[in-house]
């Protein structure tokens, strides 16, 4: 048992931290989030060409780095911490991980190569219910043609490639569709959190290449969602950390009633409460990332993955929302102005808390595991 980062993992994290701090300044985030794409294409180019982050989870045999989800979580914690507007999450943590689980095929190969080459991808699936577990509302695919809608698709408006979950007669399958394929209409959504671009997609008789059939489709979708939950938890840990750090910096400087705000015990205790939630979320995140790697290696069960993902996602969501909410409060009047960044973290925390299931949904899922089975 070794529950700390290795030297290599620490190095990856430090490099990611430095890079993101450099490119994802407050000004950069604010420019990217109202831009056409929703992210800075130049930064994405640096990520894919200089840093090769997209190669991280690709098997070495396929030209990647062959690293695991622990490394992915370490990186996402840093991108979340700086609210990096980027197609990294959609492309690598979602689409690429979905593809990794598919059986070998030309479509799979071409998608992995495209991503390695710097192209973007999105994982297309929603259920309109927030937790995304319900597969009944997916677009339908008959005779190779896809019809239907999906909403809240991360980077779905601009992705070069779409990995689309559909329902065929036999069940859920995955297709690879070009972002600009005929019959695909895409529009970005105007969202409260502007640091992550969402889109609604309409498929009208669209054809694509099948990545997997109904034998594996549902399982792959569900595993991809669990991994996305852990990835989202990693970003949320970063959001919570930065909310705490920026608030602590503010209260140490700000003087009221002749004292720094930081000297008020009630303020100190609020910060301590944030830290308890934050560090606990981080522990739950690291554990879940380890479980993700074990699952991908075939050495643990889907139930274990679900349990770890629910714990990490629920805790990190609550930590981030609490940290950013208290952060606004600690900032006082300026906390709710557009000028300070804490409100951006607050909105991101809110959006991501709801993404893939609110905390109480995750608790009920855990309760079902604990209480409704046969085990005592």
């Amino acid at each position: 048992m070794e529950f700390t980062f290795t030297e290599e993992q620490l190095m990856i994290q430090d490099m990611a931290a430095s890079f993101v701090e450099e490119v994802s300044t407050s000004e950069a985030v604010r420019a990217a989030m109202i831009s056409e794409l929703g992210y800075d294409a130049g930064v994405w180019q640096r990520i894919t060409e200089e840093l090769c982050w997209q190669a991280l989870p690709v098997d070495e045999a396929d030209g990647g780095l062959g690293l695991g989800f622990v490394e992915m979580a370490a990186m996402l914690e840093q991108t979340g911490r700086r609210l990096l507007c980027s197609p990294f999450f959609a492309t690598v943590c979602m689409a690429l991980y979905a593809a990794k689980q598919c059986p070998a095929s030309e479509a799979k190969q071409s998608l992995i190569e495209a991503i390695l080459g710097g192209q973007t991808a999105a994982f297309v699936h929603t259920d309109g219910r927030g937790h995304w577990q319900d597969l009944s509302a997916l677009p339908r695919c008959e005779s190779g043609l896809i019809n239907g809608q999906a909403s809240h698709v991360i980077n779905g408006d601009s992705a070069d490639w779409l990995v689309v979950a559909v329902n065929e007669a036999e069940g859920c399958a995955l297709y690879l569709v070009a972002g600009d394929a005929e019959g695909v209409s895409r529009s970005s959504l105007v969202t409260m959190d502007q640091t992550r671009r969402l889109a609604s997609l309409d498929f009208a008789g669209v054809s694509g290449q099948r990545l997997c059939d109904a034998a594996n489709g549902a399982a792959i979708v569900h595993v991809t969602l669990e991994l996305a939950r852990i990835g989202a938890a990693a970003e949320l840990v970063g959001v919570a950390q930065q909310s705490l750090d920026s608030s602590v910096a503010y209260i140490l400087e700000r003087v009221q009633f002749g004292r720094t705000i930081a000297s008020f015990q009630a303020v100190k205790h609020k910060c301590a409460d944030i830290m308890v939630k934050l560090e606990s979320s981080r522990s739950a995140l690291y554990y879940a990332a380890c479980v993700a790697d074990e699952f991908m290696a075939g050495s643990t069960s889907l139930a274990a993955l679900q349990e770890a993902a629910s714990i990490a996602k629920a805790y990190a969501s609550e930590a981030a929302f609490f940290a950013a909410g208290v952060g606004i409060q600690l900032h006082g009047g300026v906390g709710i102005t557009a000028e300070y960044d804490i409100q951006l973290y607050f909105k991101r925390a809110r959006a991501q808390e709801a993404y893939l299931g609110l905390p109480h949904w995750h608790r009920e899922r855990l309760a079902a595991m604990l209480l409704d089975g046969d085990a005592a």
Binding site: T126, R254, I328, G333, G335
Partner: protein, 397 residues
């Protein structure tokens, strides 16, 4: 202890409701339910016209003495008026600060000349006021006033320099009441004056502050050699703190019940959404909706105690908890609204950043626990004043 209103009060209620129904129509139909907290920047011209319509109907300043154009309405009548106003969707009151804060303060502290100069404009719904208390960097520390007022013997005017912040409706107001230091050798609560300053002059500059909602309900107000007359100080130099505190004392009270009707509208909308999208069958959401309902009912009972409790000159126990209670409740309501809305919580009405009503409410509630004394300050006040616990020491720096 009884819950029902008298027959005379119920007749008053009917009168208010009828007048509102007759008048909140036609040109004013569009401003129903608009202009409340977080929405103060909309329909300003229409809402000013509405103030004048109200004045013509005799519905501005009803709590004022009859000598100043009011109805000397009882607490019950004020409660009823505020409830009916909110129920009918009466728009956010542009004249609120003049009617409920400045007016009563002038009536208590003003000279007959000052009263004659300022009260009629407020009563007529034609002159609007804004406040100049908070200063940048001072936050909840109202005594930390750096704005200075110097009496210029040559011009026989007060000359004011400094900056105020969190001033709502500044660009729509004719006057600003400004707490400024008249004796620079004093600190804290001493050596302050309370001034009534015309906004339309070269020495006053207003700069909107953009909020997390993308809108700008508040402003910074800069005073650069701004002036007001020798008679435009309320009370004597050095009495500014006492006047300012008395003004804040008028802030609490009957308007709370009107505020609660707005809250009830929000909760009703949340319940509608929950029933429509199925969230009403989620047991955790059900618990939270019930909690919101309980909290709002109890807020009302708190207010009823507060309003029934004697002459209101001393702050009762239930009055001391009021701000902390409602702001925390409203903040939780905002989060509940988002969780009930589900995936749609994230999707706005339109580009570039047009928030729906519940979305705007959610974001704006984060200000509720900050303005008007943060929740931390409120807890200090309760602990120190109501429970007699030691005061927080002031720092040395």
């Amino acid at each position: 202890m009884k819950l029902s209103f008298s027959a005379a009060d119920e007749a008053f209620r009917a009168e208010v409701a009828a007048w509102l129904e007759d008048n909140l129509s036609g040109e004013f139909e569009a401003i129903r339910f608009r202009g409340g907290p977080g929405d103060e920047h909309v329909f300003v011209e229409e809402r000013k016209a509405w103030e004048q319509r109200m004045a013509e109907g005799g519905w501005t300043c009803i709590a004022w003495p009859e000598a100043h154009g009011g109805k000397h309405a009882s607490i019950e009548q004020q409660v009823i008026f505020n409830e009916e106003y909110a129920r009918a969707g009466g728009p956010g009151r542009v004249g609120h600060i003049g009617e409920t804060l400045m007016g009563p303060t002038l009536i208590e502290f003003g000279t007959p000349e000052q009263q004659a100069k300022y009260l009629p404009g407020i009563r007529a719904g034609r002159e609007f006021w804004c406040q100049g208390y908070s200063e940048p960097g001072a936050g909840s520390d109202l005594g930390n006033v750096k704005t200075r007022a110097v009496f210029d013997e040559t011009t026989q005017q007060w000359c004011i320099n400094g900056q105020k912040v969190w001033t709502s409706l500044a660009h729509e107001s004719h006057y600003c009441f400004v707490v400024a230091r008249t004796d620079p050798s004093q600190v804290g609560h001493k050596g302050l004056g309370f001034f009534m300053v015309p906004m339309d002059q070269p020495g006053v500059t207003v700069r909107p502050i953009e909020q997390l909602t993308g809108t700008a309900e508040f402003n910074e107000v800069f005073f650069d050699d701004a002036v007001c007359g020798a008679d435009d100080i309320l009370g004597a130099p050095g009495q500014g703190w006492a006047v300012a505190m008395a003004l804040l004392g008028f802030e609490r009270g009957v308007s709370t019940l009107g505020q609660q009707m707005l809250f009830q509208n929000e909760l009703d909308e949340i319940i509608r959404v929950a029933k429509a999208n199925g969230a009403a069958s989620d047991p955790s959401i059900r618990q939270r909706i019930a909690e919101a309902h309980m909290g709002l009912k109890t807020m009302r009972y708190n207010s009823m105690r507060m309003l029934s409790g004697g002459d209101g000159s001393q702050l009762s126990r239930e009055a001391m908890i009021y701000k902390l209670y409602w702001s925390s409740w409203h903040r939780n309501l905002g989060k509940l609204a988002m969780d009930v809305m589900g995936e749609q919580a994230e999707v706005l009405q339109a580009a570039p950043y047009e928030l729906g009503r519940l979305q705007s409410m959610f974001l704006f509630t984060r200000a509720d626990t900050i303005y008007g004394g943060t929740n931390q300050i409120q807890r200090n006040l309760i602990a120190e004043r109501a429970l007699g616990l030691p005061r927080e020491p002031r720092g040395q720096s």
